[in-house]
Symmetry: none
Subunit: 162 residues, 2 copies
């Protein structure tokens, strides 16, 4: 269930729980699903689920009662003694998340897609070679596409993962 956004799974779960608390999916004063249920829902281990719950408990959003459940706390956060990295931290976290998403998207495009394009170029070169050997003209299957007279050279070792 947790995506591959570069963010830890337990933070993703914590954010999702936070959202569901704010929008009323988990009403104030009532318990959220049990740890076992959440494990099945997010398809995650007990570690990440409990880490997410513990974070929200430290923030004062949730409160656990052994033998019963984890309840949504009515009082928002009357924390004065310890600073309030709460909202600021969440905002910073979200900004960083967006940044990471963009970076990951760029990385995916620049690696996967470029590699695929390189392979297409190689294949086009091989096709032209075959048609040349057969003495046939290269059929420009697609209008407008000049069908690259020169396949991308891409000599030497391309991106290689040992």
């Amino acid at each position: 269930m947790t995506a591959i956004t570069g963010q830890p799974a337990y933070q993703q779960i914590a954010d999702d729980l936070r959202r569901k608390i704010v929008d009323g999916t988990y009403p104030v004063g009532e318990p959220i699903p049990s740890t076992t249920t959440l494990m099945a829902h997010y398809n995650g281990s007990i570690t990440v689920v409990r880490a997410a719950i513990r974070d929200l408990q430290n923030e004062g959003v949730l409160i656990g009662q052994p033998g019963k459940g984890v309840y949504v706390q009515e009082k928002p956060k009357p924390r004065a003694d310890v600073a309030s990295p709460d909202v600021v931290a969440q905002l910073a976290n979200l900004n960083e998340t967006v940044q990471q998403l963009r970076e990951q998207l760029a990385a995916t495009v620049t690696t996967e897609v470029q590699e695929l394009r390189r392979q297409v170029g190689v294949l086009q070169g091989q096709i032209m070679d075959l048609y040349g050997r057969m003495g046939l003209p290269y059929p420009h299957e697609d209008a407008g596409r000049s069908a690259g007279a020169k396949p991308r050279k891409s000599r030497g070792s391309a991106t290689r993962s040992a």
Copy 2:
């Protein structure tokens, strides 16, 4: 090292670290002992030591830097008012936005890349067929590069789609 005071070991360790930070045993700006050292000092498992450190990190007292250490953080003690409903609503909105962005990006990228992969596979099959029909060897040495399968060594079940 942790006594039998009815309090959890990780809280005792957290309190002890807090005390040592306040009294200057661990000065501001300098790192506390490593996790391994603290494990030996308190004669506790890595779990309780890391739980204590994590609590202090959530409180803003400590900050960890992977590869270096966990440093005592200077705390200006903002004591600001917390969590106006306006900010909460904005946070919820941002969380939802990020969630939707993740899904959209994942879907788009996967579909595009998968389509490219399929096309490459078709082309490769056709080329090999053509080379075979002509009785020519498939030029592996020239440029052909099979970059489809990446060896992954995922151990347990990490993220499955439910």
